[in-house]
Each structure stands twice: as structure tokens, then as C-alpha cells.
Symmetry: C2
DNA sequence: ATTAAAACATGACTATTATCAGTTTTACTC
DNA sequence: GAGTAAAACTGATAATAGTCATGTTTTAAT
């Protein structure tokens, strides 16, 4: 049994605005869950009974397109909360959540979450700002997807993955994705994605080793992402 | 001078959850503004001093892409509020707002809007649900943009415009957009957009008269939008 | 360690979309 | 209502991305 009050993860999520009593209330009613790599956390269209606070690991959130491909909408990792949007909207989820690696999460039943939104204005303001921020990010993605060619989107994705998850000791991106996952981020055929990664490799902007990717010329890669370099 | 209490528009926006005193407070401090067709309401990156409640007219919200094209992210019309996201996030706007036709809006200074979020839990819950809903829509757009070919996106856009703004007496879409605007919704070259509209016309799914568009075979158009028809 | 399955990679070809150049139509001003 | 600028349209061509076929490497399970 662990206590929310002491959880480091709390510092990064909206939960930081809750007072000790509110936290204890949540602490008493949460349940700890583990998910294995590849395991389904929740599916698109499910009604959630609460939110999932991620203590460890990374989850990918995808949406099934009418052509049968899963589009990756975003990743959720340590200190972030899964299922916020649908819980707040009181709707079924619009996304599917899958564990990218082994995960530990705390499940917080809906009513404790919603209760705090109603009672604690600082918490609800935090949630509002969270959603506002997500919305801005979504707008950026829309523009990139509609206006940029695939090569730019891949360059951008690699830079974004570095920013979000950082590097390991050897300098490789900490997050390891299959080529298919990458193609599902940029919305392209897996073969096209592989080919363009090879191109970036030949141009000396990245190097790879299996699933691991290293940025070797960040400046030029940024130029590619912005369409200034061919 | 008009009173928020009596404003029909209020019924459609989050403002409906405010009580008479809160409404009077806003009513006393709002200013009425007019914008002409094509006029700039606010630019990307501006700090807004408040939100704009749309009483009449339609505004397009765009974001400039690095390739110099404006991507249309969404439209805001009667009963909806402009500048919500950036006001809540306390950030500069991430979108540019332009009047698509002559507009009448009420400007509500920031602090009256934020005050109600802090004091009235029903209002802040309404705002949360608003943002949650926008976020879901944004996810849908991301999937469409990344996974669907241009023809499908155009079909979808036409159907979406009918749903959002309806038809005139003759059965044409009420909203009238230039070919360039349509191409900036689907994120394509204007010429490609024109060509695909012609194709849809030849296939008998729509007909056009100048800027006016009429859906003549809704069922098939829906199939095209979903990729079931070629 | 062996083997089967999955993921990765590449080539050949096709389909889609963008670009450039030009013409026609529409809408607006005087 | 003629003149003009902007928008709409069309064609030719190039660039981009998707599909299908096939071989190779990596991964994971026995």
C-alpha cells in the first residue's frame, strides 16, 4: 500500500493542487494496477469507471481510422493521467490505451476525481489548463498532418520524442517504437516510413540500431522538420 | 445597450449556467463590437484581454503553417465563444480569428470570465466539458487528416458544413466558402480541391453555383467520406 | 540452440497530389 | 455596362506516397 501524499508522480500532475485531506481520500480509495507491455488498458468506446494515474511506464493512445489503421494520437507517461477527457465529459473514451512497456498505475474512481473538480477551484482550474494545453497541441498536430509532407513529419516526430522522453546513457531515444508505431504517428504506410528513416540515416541526421534511434545532426533535422532543408 | 439576461445566444453557450447576478455583472461590463467580412478579430500570438461571445456571424480560426499556408482549424458561430482556450490557459492565442461575414459580438473582459470559473462550479464544469468536447473533435480531425485521402476529406467537409450550418431555402449550404478556404480546411492545394469538387460534381454527388454548394446525393457522398465508394 | 513468427528492408510499379503555366469566369468598381 | 482584379478552372508534368511482392534480420518461444 502506497500513499498519494508521498507519491513523487503527484508533483507532475494536476493532483498537486489537492490538499492533504483530499489526497488522503483518494489514497484510501485508489487501487494499484500493473499492465504488461502490449496490454490493453482501455478500449475506444468504453465507459471508464475512473481515471488512471501513471506511476511508471508509457501508454500509447490510438484511434481506429475507417481504413482500419490505428492512428497514434499521443503518449501518456509518468505523472500524467489517462482517461481525464472522457471522465470529465462523462462520455465513453474516444481513444484506446495500450501499454508500450510494463506499467504501474493507480486507478482513481470517477466520483473522487469529479468531487474534487466541484469542490476545489484550484484543482478544476488546473484541469481546465490541462485540457487547454492539450487542445493547443492537438491544433499543432492538425496543421502538421495536413500541411507537411511525410519526411518533415517523421523528422518532427523524432525531435518530439526526444523532447518528451529524453535519451538513454548512450544517446539513443529512451522511447523505443516499432516502425509501424512511428508510421501510425505520422499517418503513413509502414514501408514509406522505413524508407524515409533510411533516407535520414543516409543523410547522416540520425542513426539506428534495431528499434533504437539516435539523433546525430539535430540542427539539420530541425531544418528538415520545418521544410527548410531538402 | 442590450442585456445578457435576455440574449438568445446565451442559451447555446456555457453562459447559460450563470445566475442572474453573475449575468448582470457581465452585462454591465461587456462591450458590443462589429466586424466586417474579412476583418481580423485577433491574430495568432496576441494576448487577449477577454473573450468574444458571437451574437451573429461566422468566424474562421486558422493557424499559419511553416509552409506559409493558413490551415483552418474550425469555425465559430452564433452562441459560441471565441478566445476561450487562450483565456483559460492564460496564454497568447494559438489561432487567428477572421470574420467570414459581417459579425456582431460581445466582448467580455477576462476577469469577469475567469471570476465565474473560480466562483461557480457549474460554470467551470461547463467549460471543462466544452474543452473536452473540442478535444475529441480535434482527435477526429487528426485521424481524418492523417489517414484519409483528399477526396474523402472534401466529402467529409461538405457533410460537416451542412451539419454545422445547415441549408438555405434553395437547398444550398448556408455557409459560403472560397475554394481556397475549402482547400485550407482539408489541407491541400487549391487546384487539387477544385479538381476533386469537379469530380464530385461529375459523379452527381454535389452541384455548385458560384461559391454555393448543394448536396445532391447525400448517401453516396457519405460513402465517399468513409472510403466505401470509388 | 533451433525454429517460427514478426518486424524490417528494398525494388518495381501505381496512384495520388503538388506545381506551374495558362485560360475562363465571376464579382466588383467606376 | 465596360474595365479590371480576383477567383475559378484546366492541362501537362513532376514529386510524393501507397501497394504489392519478396528477401532479410530480429525477436521470442520452445
Amino acid at each position: 500500500m502506497s500513499f498519494c501524499e508521498k507519491c513523487i508522480v503527484r508533483k507532475f500532475s494536476g493532483l498537486k493542487t489537492l490538499n492533504p485531506e483530499e489526497l488522503e481520500q483518494i489514497s484510501k480509495n485508489k487501487t494499484s494496477l500493473s499492465f504488461q507491455k502490449g496490454e490493453l488498458i482501455f478500449d475506444e468506446g468504453e465507459y471508464l469507471k475512473g481515471v488512471y494515474c501513471v506511476r511508471h511506464g508509457i501508454s500509447k493512445l490510438t484511434k481506429l481510422s475507417s481504413n482500419g489503421k490505428d492512428q497514434i494520437i499521443k503518449f501518456v507517461s509518468n505523472g500524467e493521467v489517462l482517461g481525464q477527457r472522457s471522465t470529465i465529459a462523462n462520455e465513453p473514451t474516444n481513444l484506446k490505451a495500450i501499454a508500450l512497456n510494463d506499467m504501474e498505475v493507480c486507478f482513481i474512481p470517477k466520483n473522487y476525481f469529479l468531487e474534487n473538480i466541484k469542490k476545489n477551484p484550484r484543482f478544476s482550474m488546473e484541469m481546465l489548463q490541462d485540457l487547454a494545453h492539450e487542445l493547443k497541441e492537438a491544433d499543432d498536430v492538425i496543421v502538421n498532418m495536413s500541411q507537411k509532407p511525410v519526411k518533415q513529419r517523421i523528422a518532427e516526430t523524432i525531435l518530439h520524442l526526444e523532447n518528451s522522453f529524453g535519451l538513454d546513457e548512450e544517446g539513443f531515444l529512451l522511447i523505443r517504437l516499432s516502425r509501424e508505431d512511428i508510421s501510425n504517428i505520422v499517418g503513413t504506410a509502414t514501408e514509406s516510413c522505413i524508407r524515409l528513416l533510411s533516407t535520414l540515416k543516409k543523410e547522416g541526421l540520425i542513426s539506428t540500431s534495431g528499434k533504437r534511434i539516435m539523433i546525430t545532426d539535430k540542427e539539420t533535422l530541425q531544418q528538415v522538420a520545418e521544410g527548410l532543408h531538402h
